[in-house]
C-alpha cells in the first residue's frame, strides 16, 4: 500500500533510498525521516509498548515521540531507542522494532496485555513484596527480563563521540518563527549568535504551514531568512542540535546529531556534546500539541493533528481517511486547511456543544467525543458518542488535538515553577526563571504566527539592550494571527483503557488508582505509576496526568502542581556525555624520559598518579615477578641498582625569604640548613595530620629545592600557593615546579660511588645528605646523596632532554658492576626493610607522632599544622602508631589491608588493634615483613597479635617490632 501524495517540502524526489525495517526492504526519498518513510510505505505498526507490549505507531513528528523507538544497526553494532522521528533516512539504513519477540506483528509478550488487570499502577511494589526469599532467585530475574525499553548492545560501543565548547552573545533555542526573527534581528547587529534547532531544517512549525508571511508562502520566507542568517559571519546555525539542559552561569548543554543520518560516517562523530556559554539566551522552543485520553487512543494510526499535518506537508504522507478529534479553534482551522489541500477528512469531532462552521468540506460533529477505536495492528474505525448515541466511522487515521503546551522545560531547569494560564489551559513560564534565558513566542503561550514573530523581535530587543547593542529598525512581518479558543478535555469517560503516557503504558485508571491508594501528590503519583519517567519524560502526558490527578483528588490543576523538570530535555547517550574521556582523554599519561627503555626491557608499567613506572624488569627464566623483584633488591643490597625517580615532585623555592617560608610549611627549621646540605622534611596539614614528606636541599643562600612524593605533588603545590598568597604574600620569595625540567635517577648500593666515578670521571666526595652541582661533559647536573633504600645512595639529576641517555648509561654501568635497573616492587621492598614510610602509611589520618617523627616538629617556631598536631587526641597512647610486623612463620604471606586483633579475641571491629599498611617478602632477611599502624604500637614491641586477612581468608600470628628491620643504625647509607 503506497501512501505518498505529491509534493513534500522536505523530500528530494530525485534520490530514492533503499532501507530495511523489521527485515523488510523498503524505499523512501532523501529528506525522509525513518518515521515518514515508514508511513509512506504503509507501515503504521512501529513498535511494542513497554509494559503491555501493545502495538504502537508513531504519535508525533518530533523529538517528543513516545512510541516509535527503534534499534538502528550499523557495522555489526546497534543503537537502541532511536526515535524514528529524528532518524533521517540514509541508503542502507537498517532499523528494527523494539520490545517484541519473535517479531513485531507476533510478539509473545503481548500476553501481558491480557494480564493488564493485574499489572496496574504499583504492580511491582505489590506483587514482588514477599516472600523475601523469592527476590534474588525469582523476582529480580523476571523483572530484568521483562523490563527496560530496548536492549543494550552488549558489546563495546566503538562509535565516535565528540565534545566541544562554544561561546556566544546570544543563544537562540529553536528556529521556528520566534527563533528565526530573534536570530535575524540580533544577527543584523553583529552580535555573536548561535541558532540551535533540533530539526535538520530551520523553520519549525512554518515547515508544515501553507500560510503566508509578508505576502510570500511561509516556506519561502523561511528560506530567505535562513539564507540571510547563513550569510552573516557572526551567526552560527546549528541544525540537528537539541539544547538539553540550562545550567548555571549561562551554560547550556547541547546534543548535536552529527553522523547518525549518514550512510558512510567515516570518522565523523556520531554525536557531539556541546557546552555553550551564552551571555543571553532566548527560549524559542515552541509548543507541543497534546493528545486526548480516550479509550483506545494508543492504536497505530492515532496521531497528533500537528504530526499528521507535518507528515503531509513536509513528506507528502497521505494519511488516508482522517477523523480529527479536537477541542480548539486551531484544530478546526488546521482541519479546514488540510481538507482544502486535498486531505480526506471524513469527520471533525469536537466536544464543544455549540460549534457552528460552514464550508468546511467535512462533516463537523459538535458536542461529540471519540469513545473507542478498533483494528488489530492498526486503526480501522473509531466510535463516536454524540448526544448519548454512539456510532462508528471507518477511517485510517485519527488526528488528536487536545490543545498546546509551551515547551518550557529549559526554563524550569533551575528549579523554578511555571504558572497556570486558565485561558490556554496550560502552564506558561514566567520571566527570569533562569537568569539570562527568556522564553518567547509559543514557548510562553503566544501561539499565532504573527504573535511569535513579534515576540521573537521583542525578546531580541531586550537581549540586545542587555548586551549593549542597538537593535535595528525592522517591521514585524505580517502573518496569520488567528485566535485560539479551547475547552479543556483531559479525559473521555467511557469504558476501556485511555492512555496518558504511551511510552510507559500509564492509563487514566492508573493515575486514579494511585490517588486512591494514597499516592495523591503529583511526585508520588509519578513514581507509583511511572508516568513521565520514560525516555520522552512525559512530554505528551504530564499535563494530562496532572489534570486527571487534579480531577480525582478534587483539586485544581495549579493546586496539584507540576513535577520537577530536570535535564536532559532529550535522551543523551552516556557515550556522548563521556565524549573525550576515554583512554588518555580520561587519564592523561605521564611518561618519564626512561619510559621507552623500560617498556623495551619488558617491564610491566604501573600507575603512580598519572605517571607510569616500571614494576620490575623481567629476565628469561624468572619463575614469577617476585624472582625479578628479589634479584633487583639484591642489586641494591650487594652491588648497585638504578631507578628513575623523576616522578617525585620538585619545587624550586627562591628568594631572600625562601628559608623563612620553608620554616612555615615544614615542621623542621629549613632556614638553618647550610648550603649544599639536604634535610628530610615533613609537611603537615593545618589540622595537624601529615600531608607529605620529602627532602629539602639548599642549593645556595637563597635557593632551595624541595621534593614531594609522586602522588602529592599537585596537592603540595596548591598548599604552598595557599600559604604564600594567604599568609605571606609580601615575603620576598617565589617558587615554581621544576619536576618536568629535571630527570632524576637514583643510584643505590655499595658500589654506587664506583658507578658514579665512571659517570663523572671521579668519585665525588659528598657526605651523606649533601648535594652539589656536577658536570657531565657539557651537561650541568645536580647530585644529591640521599637514600630511600638504606644503602649508600645518590640521586643524579640532569635536564630532561638528557634523561633517556643518562638512564641508558647508568643501567649499562650498573650491569657491568653486577647490578642493574630496579623497579617499583624492589623499591618498595627496600624501603619496607628500612621502615621508610610512603603514602601507604601517610593516609591522611596519621600524625607525626603516629609515625614516630614527633621530634621533627620543631618546638622553636610555628609551622602550619603545629598547634593542632599537639592537640588532645592526636598524640597519645590511643593513637595508631607505626610498628614493624614479623610473622611467626617466616613464609606466611602478609598483605596490606589485613587487620590485627588480640590473640584470643574475635575478629570484630570492636577488638581491632590496627591494620597492615605495607608488606613484602624480604629477600635480605628471608622472611615476610609488614608495616602496620597499631594502637599504642611503640610501647608494644615484642607483643604477639593475630593477623586476619578477610579478603584472602588468611589468619596468622605476627610479632610487633621496631619498623626499621634492616641496618637499624643506618651505617650502610652513611659510610
Amino acid at each position: 500500500m503506497r501512501r505518498r501524495a505529491t509534493g513534500g517540502s522536505a523530500l528530494d524526489r530525485g534520490r530514492k533510498l533503499g532501507f530495511r525495517f523489521a527485515a523488510q526492504r523498503m524505499e523512501g526519498f532523501a529528506g525522509d525521516t525513518l518515521a515518514s518513510a515508514l508511513l509512506a510505505n504503509g507501515v503504521r505498526l512501529m513498535g511494542r509498548s513497554f509494559k503491555y507490549h501493545r502495538p504502537r505507531g508513531v504519535l508525533t513528528a518530533g523529538s517528543e515521540e513516545p512510541n516509535a523507538l527503534v534499534e538502528v544497526r550499523r557495522d555489526g553494532q546497534f543503537h537502541p531507542n532511536i526515535r524514528a522521528t529524528l532518524q533521517d533516512l540514509h541508503p542502507g539504513l537498517e532499523a528494527r522494532a523494539q520490545n517484541c519477540w519473535p517479531s513485531l506483528r507476533r510478539d509473545v509478550m503481548a500476553v501481558n496485555d491480557l494480564l493488564s488487570p493485574f499489572l496496574g499502577a504499583g504492580f511491582y511494589y505489590k506483587t514482588f513484596m514477599w516472600p523475601r526469599a523469592f527476590w534474588e532467585g525469582l523476582y529480580e530475574p523476571l523483572i530484568r527480563r521483562a523490563a527496560g525499553l530496548g536492549r543494550l548492545p552488549g558489546s563495546h560501543d566503538n562509535s565516535l563521540h565528540e565534545r566541544a565548547f562554544a561561546f556566544c552573545d546570544l543563544l537562540v533555542i529553536g528556529a521556528g518563527p520566534t527563533g528565526l526573527m530573534a536570530a535575524l534581528m540580533a544577527g543584523r547587529t553583529g552580535a555573536d549568535v548561535i541558532l540551535a534547532e533540533e530539526d535538520r531544517q530551520m523553520g519549525g512549525r512554518l515547515l508544515g504551514d501553507n500560510g503566508q508571511i509578508d505576502g510570500v508562502p511561509a516556506a519561502a520566507w523561511v528560506k530567505a531568512v535562513r539564507a540571510e542568517l547563513a550569510s552573516l559571519p557572526n551567526v552560527r546555525l546549528m541544525p540537528r542540535t537539541s539544547i538539553f539542559g540550562a545550567y548555571d552561569g549561562g551554560v547550556f548543554g547541547a546534543l548535536e546529531r552529527v553522523a547518525q543520518h549518514l550512510a558512510e560516517p567515516g570518522l565523523t562523530p556520531r554525536e557531539c556534546y556541546w557546552r555553550i556559554a551564552a551571555r543571553r539566551a532566548i527560549l524559542a522552543s515552541g509548543a507541543l500539541e497534546r493528545p486526548i485520553a480516550h479509550p483506545g487512543n494508543d492504536r497505530p494510526g492515532v496521531m497528533l493533528l500537528s504530526a499528521v499535518a507535518s507528515y503531509w506537508h513536509r513528506w507528502a504522507v497521505d494519511p488516508g481517511r482522517v477523523v480529527v478529534f479536537g477541542n480548539n479553534d486551531h484544530a478546526l482551522a488546521t482541519a479546514r486547511r488540510l481538507a482544502a489541500e486535498g486531505m480526506r477528512i471524513v469527520s471533525y469531532i469536537d466536544p464543544r456543544e455549540d460549534l457552528v462552521a460552514s464550508d468546511t468540506g467535512f462533516p463537523l460533529r459538535s458536542g461529540a467525543e471519540v469513545v473507542a477505536t478498533r483494528g488489530r495492528h492498526e486503526l480501522r474505525e473509531v466510535t463516536i458518542r454524540a448526544k448519548g448515541r454512539e456510532h462508528r466511522i471507518v477511517c485510517d487515521t485519527l488526528a488528536l488535538s487536545g490543545g498546546w503546551n509551551p515547551t518550557l522545560a529549559l526554563a524550569c531547569h533551575h528549579g523554578m515553577r511555571p504558572v497556570w494560564d486558565e485561558g490556554l489551559a496550560t502552564f506558561v513560564p514566567r520571566p527570569g526563571m533562569v537568569p539570562g534565558l527568556e522564553p518567547a513566542g509559543a514557548a510562553r503561550g503566544r501561539f499565532s504566527t504573527a504573535a511569535c514573530l513579534a515576540d521573537g523581535m521583542q525578546a531580541a530587543r531586550d537581549a540586545l539592550a542587555e548586551l549593549g547593542r542597538t537593535p535595528p529598525d525592522m517591521p514585524v512581518p505580517e502573518a496569520e494571527d488567528g485566535g485560539y479558543a479551547l475547552r479543556p478535555l483531559w479525559e473521555v469517560r467511557a469504558p476501556g483503557r485511555a492512555w496518558l503516557d504511551f511510552a510507559n503504558d500509564v492509563t487514566t485508571k492508573d493515575v486514579a488508582l494511585a490517588a486512591q491508594e494514597g499516592y495523591a501528590s503529583v511526585e508520588h503519583m509519578k513514581r507509583y505509576t511511572t508516568q513521565g519517567m520514560a525516555p520522552d519524560q512525559g512530554k505528551s502526558s504530564n499535563m494530562g496526568a496532572l489534570a486527571v490527578l487534579a480531577d480525582v483528588t478534587g483539586g485544581t490543576i495549579p493546586e496539584t502542581g507540576t513535577t520537577t523538570f530536570r535535564p536532559p530535555f532529550v535522551p543523551v547517550s552516556i557515550g556522548t556525555l563521556g565524549a573525550g574521556a576515554r583512554g588518555k582523554g580520561f587519564r592523561p599519561e605521564r611518561r618519564t624520559t626512561s619510559d621507552a627503555q623500560a617498556r623495551a626491557l619488558g617491564a610491566p608499567m604501573i600507575e603512580a598518579g598519572l605517571w607510569y613506572r616500571p614494576a620490575y624488569f623481567p629476565r628469561p627464566g624468572d619463575a614469577d615477578w617476585r624472582a625479578a623483584c628479589n634479584r633487583e633488591v639484591g642489586f641494591v643490597r650487594n652491588a648497585v641498582g638504578v631507578c628513575d625517580v623523576s616522578t617525585l615532585g620538585k619545587i624550586a623555592v627562591q628568594g631572600p625569604d625562601a628559608g623563612r617560608f620553608l620554616d612555615l610549611v615544614y615542621t623542621g627549621t629549613m632556614s638553618r640548613l647550610t648550603p649544599c646540605r639536604v634535610r628530610y622534611g615533613l609537611m603537615l596539614r593545618e589540622d595537624g595530620h601529615v600531608m607529605d614528606d620529602g627532602t629539602c636541599a639548599r642549593l645556595g643562600a637563597q635557593d632551595f629545592l624541595v621534593t614531594t612524593t609522586t602522588a602529592a605533588a599537585s596537592e603540595v603545590m596548591r598548599h604552598l600557593d595557599f600559604v604564600q598568597q594567604a599568609f605571606c604574600s609580601d615575603w620576598q620569595l617565589r617558587f615554581a615546579s621544576v619536576t618536568e625540567h629535571w630527570a632524576q635517577m637514583a643510584i643505590a648500593g655499595p658500589l654506587a660511588g664506583e658507578l658514579l666515578g665512571h659517570v663523572l670521571g671521579d668519585v665525588p666526595d659528598l657526605p651523606f645528605m649533601g648535594c652539589q652541582p656536577v658536570q657531565i661533559g657539557d651537561v650541568a647536573g645536580r647530585l644529591f646523596r640521599i637514600s630511600f633504600s638504606g644503602e649508600r645512595g645518590y640521586e643524579l639529576a640532569v635536564p630532561a632532554d638528557f634523561g633517556a641517555d643518562l638512564f641508558r648509561h647508568l643501567v649499562a654501568l650498573a650491569e657491568g658492576l653486577g647490578g642493574g635497573s630496579y623497579g617499583m616492587e624492589a623499591l618498595n621492598v627496600l624501603r619496607i626493610e628500612k621502615g621508610f614510610v610512603t603514602h601507604a602509611e601517610i593516609d591522611g589520618r596519621v600524625t607525626a607522632f603516629d609515625l614516630g617523627l614527633q621530634a621533627m616538629v620543631s618546638g622553636k617556631k610555628d609551622c602550619i599544622g603545629k598547634v593542632m598536631s599537639q592537640r588532645e587526641g592526636l598524640c597519645g597512647p590511643e593513637r595508631l602508631q607505626i610498628v614493624g610486623l614479623r610473622p611467626t612463620d617466616a613464609n606466611a604471606e602478609i598483605h596490606a589491608g589485613a587487620h590485627l586483633y588480640p590473640m584470643r579475641a574475635a575478629a570484630k571491629a570492636a577488638h581491632g588493634q590496627g591494620h597492615v599498611t605495607s608488606a613484602c617478602y624480604s629477600p635480605t632477611l628471608a622472611t615476610w615483613l609488614g608495616l602496620a599502624l597499631v594502637v599504642n604500637g611503640r610501647a608494644r614491641h615484642g607483643e604477639t597479635l593475630r593477623l586476619v586477612d578477610g579478603l584472602r581468608g588468611q589468619r596468622m600470628e605476627v610479632t610487633l617490632c621496631d619498623p626499621v628491620f634492616f641496618d637499624p643504625d643506618g651505617g650502610r647509607m652513611r659510610d
Binding site: G585, P588, W731, V738, G777, D801, F802, L806, H809
Partner: protein
C-alpha cells in the same frame, strides 16, 4: 666520564600530522626561563626587561616574554639581561615543556573540542593558562589560524593523542559538509 646526547620531547611520535585543514608540528625547543618578580619588584624588573607581561600578554622584543601564570612569565630564547636575580626568581624550564604548533583554517574548531576557552576573544599574540581535558596547557595565540600549545613534557604523548583525535573529527566533518 660519559657523554650525554639529548632526546626531544616528541622523540618517537610521528610529527608533523595533517588532518583536513590543520597541521600539527613540534616546536623546536627554545631556552625557557621562568621569571617570577619578587613582591614589590615589578617596576624595577620591568625597567630592565622593557615591560613585564600582564596576565594574557605576550611581548615580542629581543626575546619573547609570555605570561605563564600567576606573577610569572616565560622568557623564550637566549639573551636575558644580566642582574635580574635581585628582582625576580629565575628558573630554567627549558626541558619541562613540550610545544606543538597547530596551524590551519580549522585550528580554532579543533581547539574548541579540547579547551573551554573562547579563542576568538583572545588577541594575537596572547597567552592563556588552561586545561586541555586534564592536561595542563599554556596556550599562545599567534593568529586566528595558528596556536602554540605547551604542556608538561611528560604528557607530550597524551597531548599529541588528544590533538590528533580532535583534528580527525573536525576533518571528517569538513569532508561531509
Amino acid at each position: 666520564m660519559i657523554e650525554l646526547s639529548p632526546t626531544g620531547a616528541f622523540g618517537v611520535l610521528r610529527l608533523p600530522l595533517e588532518q583536513g585543514e590543520t597541521r600539527l608540528s613540534a616546536i623546536a625547543p627554545p631556552r625557557i626561563t621562568a621569571i617570577a618578580p619578587y613582591p614589590g619588584q615589578m617596576n624595577a624588573l620591568s625597567r630592565r626587561l622593557g615591560a613585564f607581561p600582564a596576565p594574557g600578554e605576550v611581548h615580542d622584543g629581543q626575546l619573547r616574554l609570555v605570561w605563564s601564570g600567576r606573577e610569572m612569565a616565560f622568557a623564550f630564547g637566549e639573551g636575558l639581561p644580566e642582574g635580574l636575580e635581585d628582582f625576580a626568581a629565575l628558573c630554567d624550564q627549558s626541558d619541562a615543556w613540550a610545544g606543538l604548533a597547530l596551524v590551519g583554517q580549522d585550528a580554532q574548531a579543533v581547539l574548541a573540542r579540547l579547551v573551554a576557552l573562547d579563542l576568538r576573544a583572545l588577541a594575537a599574540p596572547s597567552s592563556a593558562r588552561a586545561l586541555m581535558g586534564h592536561l595542563p596547557l599554556l596556550l599562545i595565540k599567534e593568529s586566528d589560524t595558528r596556536f602554540d600549545l605547551w604542556t608538561f613534557r611528560s604528557m607530550a604523548d597524551s597531548l599529541v593523542h588528544e590533538m590528533e583525535a580532535a583534528m580527525r573529527g573536525v576533518a571528517a566533518r569538513r569532508a561531509i559538509s
